[in-house]
């Protein structure tokens, strides 16, 4: 993902009709949307639907985009809402954490496969509110204040949730980290 100002400029250009800017925006931010959806549903087919639906929402809402540094905040909100709506409508259900491993991507770096799979398992096992806060900050690059606004909680709560998430993940990775 590029820096925030560059993303905001791309979004403004897309809003003003620059088709290439929209495509670039989608390519650069789809990895965060995908990762959030995978961690939410644990299923690549659901994640594809989420990515598709998120960009339809964003493209539809672009005329209202006011510029500035808000693009990532907006994208996170849309992504989170699309996931929650799919869950509520019953169109998609999260895959249990155990069954999730088969859908974890396979990075090509040797040794990274086990580590990445362990990380994803640990993240999926987090409490949903901790996972949301961690995703907002670590995937979408939101500040605590921005994440707080999106999640409707105080910034201090975001800080605690992110820390709780990191502690849980770090604890589960400690063994692997020793050998890596």
């Amino acid at each position: 993902m590029r820096d925030r100002e560059a993303s905001a400029r791309l979004a403004e250009a897309a809003r003003d009709g620059d088709e290439a800017a929209f495509e670039t925006l989608v390519r650069e931010h789809t990895p965060a949307v995908w990762a959030h959806a995978m961690r939410f549903f644990g299923d690549s087919s659901a994640a594809e639907d989420v990515v598709q639906e998120v960009w339809i929402h964003v493209y539809r809402g672009l005329p209202q985009f006011q510029g500035g540094a808000a693009f990532s905040t907006w994208l996170f909100r849309v992504t989170r809402n699309v996931c929650v709506d799919m869950l509520r409508s019953g169109s998609r259900r999260p895959v249990p954490v155990d069954a999730f491993e088969r859908d974890v991507p396979v990075p090509d770096e040797s040794g990274a496969v086990d580590l990445s799979a362990s990380v994803e398992r640990a993240i999926r096992a987090l409490a949903p509110e901790d996972r949301d806060a961690f995703g907002a900050v670590a995937l979408f690059g939101l500040t605590y204040a921005e994440a707080a606004e999106s999640l409707g909680v105080p910034a201090g709560t975001v800080k605690s949730r992110v820390f709780r998430a990191r502690r849980a993940i770090a604890a589960s990775l400690d063994d692997q980290a020793g050998g890596a």
Binding site: V26, W55, Q64, S118, T143, D174
Partner: protein, 361 residues
């Protein structure tokens, strides 16, 4: 400093949030010597090295293409519908026109649908291909490089000297919430000047939606979530003055009277019914469809349009209340509903509306 305090400081610094440099130095010192914290830092380093799930190579391009395929026709259809509605309104106006031409020209703002035609036109300009499409391979390369940098720079940076006090300016910018329309300019009675809209400026009309024929005015963004609110139906609205109307879920609010609708940014917006008092009874404003902010409410389909300025033949005068003439249906009582003509004073809930309005208890 205890383990939790030290670890939380490390975590906060990793997120590039401002921390006290002295406290961070203490935390680092603690985490180098404490066995528990050494394990925490080792786990964090592993987390930084891990690669998040990566989407299929062509997914992003396909998603961008699909978004345009879905939304572009919506925009075109909305623009065409608005143009057609404007034409129909002009024809209807000509057919109904019993007012002297000069009086109408002097007093009557443009009909609501004509305003719609101005405002519903898509703001997204015709697309232009710049040819500057960056290949997926290049984007992937950037991501891999970023990932490698993050793994090296992340945890290690925190333990490197001199990085603790780095300024946080880029990270502390306030986000700009996405507002519906052009801001809450529809204050008393939605009394913003229709003339501004005639000039094709940004929509300055009331921020109204209709739900089941009742008119609601935008109040504010709320922190409510669609996950906890009760869905009570759908409303067709663009939630702004410039894009295509889409069908959106409507939720009941805890207060009962208000409704909630989520905008495209996922923010829940609250709307309150537009009401007036008459004879000690609260009447609600009713209308035909209001597909966009800036569209003025008009008489519902089941109430005939008067052909004369005095309300006839549809309405007869019921009363004069504070300078506002209240009408009722000829041959009926005010309990069935009341009407107010165009041009009501600034203090009236129908102020600024160029149309007759219909209110029911």
């Amino acid at each position: 400093m205890d383990c939790i305090q030290a670890q939380e400081l490390i975590s906060t610094a990793l997120d590039r949030e401002p921390v006290d440099p002295q406290a961070l130095a203490e935390a680092k010192s603690h985490c180098r010597e404490c066995a528990d914290c050494v394990r925490f830092v080792r786990g964090l380093a592993a987390l930084q090295r891990a690669i998040p799930p990566e989407p299929p190579a062509e997914l992003a391009n396909a998603a961008a293409k699909r978004a345009r395929e879905v939304v572009d026709p919506e925009r075109e259809a909305a623009a065409q519908a608005a143009a057609a509605a404007a034409e129909a309104a002009v024809v209807a106006e000509a057919a109904a026109g019993e007012q002297p031409a000069e009086a109408a020209a002097a007093t009557a703002p443009l009909p609501a649908v004509e305003i719609t035609a101005q405002d519903v036109r898509p703001k997204i300009a015709p697309r232009r291909r710049t040819g500057a499409i960056i290949g997926w391979a290049a984007a992937a390369a950037v991501l891999v490089l970023f990932g490698a940098w993050a793994a090296v720079a992340g945890v290690r940076a925190i333990f490197a000297p001199r990085e603790a006090g780095a300024p946080q300016t880029a990270q502390t910018e306030r986000s700009v919430p996405l507002q519906p329309g052009t801001g809450d300019t529809a204050t008393e009675g939605g009394a913003t000047a229709p003339q501004a809209q005639q000039k094709g400026e940004e929509s300055a009309g009331p921020q109204y939606v209709d739900f089941d024929g009742t008119v609601y005015r935008f109040q504010s963004e709320t922190g409510e979530s669609s996950a906890t609110a009760q869905r009570i139906g759908t409303a067709l609205t663009s939630l702004d003055g410039g894009s295509a109307a889409t069908s959106r879920d409507v939720y009941g609010s805890r207060g009962g009277e208000m409704i909630l609708i989520a905008n495209d940014a996922g923010v829940m917006l609250s709307f309150a019914p537009v009401t007036r008092q008459y004879g000690g009874v609260t009447y609600r404003l009713r209308s035909t469809a209001i597909p966009a902010f800036g569209v003025w409410p008009a008489l519902p389909q089941n109430v005939a349009q008067p052909t004369a300025a005095d309300g006839s033949p549809t309405f007869v005068v019921e009363a004069d209340e504070g300078g506002v003439t209240v009408y009722r249906l000829a041959g009926s009582s005010a309990r069935e509903g009341i009407a107010v003509g165009p041009g009501s004073p600034q203090s009236d809930p129908a102020a600024g509306n160029p149309n007759w309005t219909w209110w029911t208890p």
